[in-house]
């Protein structure tokens, strides 16, 4: 049960982090009252790769990240870590993270998260279709002298 909750929370936090900030703001223009536990702050995360894709880790380079933590009136705490430097995005994502732990969850899932997930899927599928349209088959030609 705890594991299911963790998996679900990972899912929505990731969805919120990857959502285009403007889109999230359009879906949820007004935020309910909340207190900032940690004001939005920007920093970096060092992204690591693996040597030869499968070996030991190495430092590839950094990304910008903004994080924020909020507390709702009912005491529920929400956190957000989002890529980029958009403080409003981090704050909105933290509020949604908090609300998703309350009875508002079902409503938000329907009005925000499902839409974001569907749009992300659509964007991925469109790109994958473009890539698939460039799939080729190379044929090895038999050289004249070998024929």
């Amino acid at each position: 049960m705890i594991e299911d909750q963790t998996a679900a929370r990972k899912g929505w936090m990731s969805l919120l982090a990857k959502a285009p900030p403007d889109r999230l703001a359009a879906l949820l223009p007004d935020l309910p009252d909340h207190a900032l536990v940690r004001s939005p702050e920007s920093g970096s995360v060092m992204v690591r790769g693996r040597i030869g894709a499968s070996g030991g880790p190495f430092n590839l380079g950094e990304i910008t990240v903004t994080r924020c933590s909020v507390r709702m009136g009912c005491g529920t705490v929400g956190h957000a870590w989002v890529q980029g430097r958009d403080k409003a995005h981090a704050r909105r994502a933290a509020v949604v993270d908090a609300l998703m732990q309350t009875e508002a969850a079902a409503g938000l899932r329907a009005s925000v998260l499902h839409l974001l997930a569907a749009e992300a899927d659509q964007a991925r599928a469109t790109r994958a279709a473009k890539a698939a349209a460039t799939k080729v088959d190379f044929f090895t030609m038999v050289r004249g002298e070998d024929a």
């Binding site: 995360v45 030869g52 590839l60 380079g61 990304i63 430097r85 991925r124 994958a128």
Partner: protein, 366 residues
């Protein structure tokens, strides 16, 4: 030695103001916006992100605008900005096996699971100037993508090519470890540098320098007989352990280019004959850099593979690592244009003294 000088404030202010005017150019031409640079100069943005070692397309676009298109100056701006950011965390290593690929090709296998995907490539273009782009026209409409098998929608399974060779024991294995790699942004680069540190230095190194070194290995200076086993470009998720939660969350995505080379290796006292590997991984769509990186990586591995050091530049870790960073290089190079009046005065005195001495000797001899 550079000695501080005073004065010149007004001239400097005026120079900077003129710089701003020159950057803007002809006022009758619309000003470039950051989104325009980000969307339409994407490969320049990618290069600035890779060599600036900070993935943020908007900031890279801003840096390019501010630097008037001087990409090394833009990298400099990004590096300087990066130092102001608090480091929140290290990501979990990205899994390029789950990459949503835009492009994936292999020069070693023509039929492979996941297929050969060309993606938006310059390859097979004729390199003829397209004057249609000069006549400010409509966006290219193009034909809509050919309908494909619905089973192939979404991210298709695209296994790594080296995995096939790995399975047959024909290529050296690259076993996963979880050691914390050294970080040259935290500790000065020191030799000997392990492979993790070398890769970090090369992935942020100057593309032109890495390209030339890689080319030198192909021409015989430390030849490694590389095949491009696989080249892939696409997006991968960045996952971070969130300390306040105690679990990992995918907080975003980065576009990466990955190149794995398959290289000849005759075997050594301890290893049977098998293929060896070179690895390149670079921010953004940076194909030339990723291929070059994998060649230079392989070349620098001569010692651990028991190969001979032939004195080739690309085999020399000190030469490669201490000269590949274009910000270090340009900083040292360009500082010599700053006032060196005291240094030069001393040199002048010395030369005058030597000349007087030589003159006196000549006169004494006559």
């Amino acid at each position: 030695m550079y000695v501080a000088v005073k004065g010149g404030e007004r001239a400097i202010d005026n120079a900077h103001q003129w710089l701003a005017e020159e950057r803007r150019g002809d006022l009758s031409i619309p000003e470039l916006t950051i989104p325009q640079i980000r969307e339409q100069m994407k490969l320049a943005v990618n290069r600035v992100m890779a060599e600036g070692s900070l993935y943020d397309p908007d900031l890279a676009a801003l840096a390019i605008k501010q630097a008037r298109g001087d990409l090394i100056e833009a990298v400099f701006l990004i590096r300087a900005y990066r130092t102001t950011l608090p480091r929140f965390a290290l990501s979990n290593p990205v899994d390029t096996g789950t990459m949503a690929v835009d492009r994936r090709i292999s020069a070693t296998f023509k039929d492979l699971p996941g297929g050969q995907v060309l993606g938006p490539t310059f390859d097979y273009t004729h390199r003829l100037l397209d004057f249609a782009l000069m006549a400010e026209g409509e966006a290219p409409s193009g034909t809509p993508p050919t309908p494909i098998n619905p089973l192939e929608r979404g991210a298709p399974l695209v296994p790594h090519v080296t995995g096939f060779l790995d399975r047959d024991g024909l290529i050296e294995t690259e076993p996963a470890t979880d050691t914390t790699p050294p970080d040259l942004t935290r500790e000065p680069l020191e030799l000997p540098a392990d492979r993790a540190l070398r890769l970090q230095a090369i992935t942020r190194g100057d593309e032109g320098f890495i390209l030339s070194l890689a080319y030198s290995t192909q021409r015989g200076y430390g030849r490694t007989h590389a095949f491009v086993g696989e080249l892939r470009i696409g997006r991968v998720a960045v996952e971070v352990d969130i300390p306040e939660l105690g679990f990992a969350v995918e907080i975003g995505e980065v576009e990466l280019t990955e190149c794995e080379t398959v290289n000849q290796f005759k075997g050594s006292r301890t290893e049977p004959p098998q293929f060896t590997r070179g690895y390149g991984l670079v921010f953004g769509q940076s194909e030339r850099k990723a291929i070059a990186m994998s060649l230079v990586d392989r070349s620098l591995r001569w010692n651990e593979l028991g190969e001979d050091f032939t004195g080739a530049p690309a085999q020399d870790a000190e030469f490669v690592l201490y000269h590949c960073d274009n910000i270090q290089a340009t900083g040292f190079l360009e500082h010599i244009k700053l006032p060196h009046y005291v240094d030069f005065q001393a040199e002048l005195e010395l030369v005058r003294g030597l000349r007087a001495e030589a003159q006196a000797q000549r006169e004494a001899a006559e």
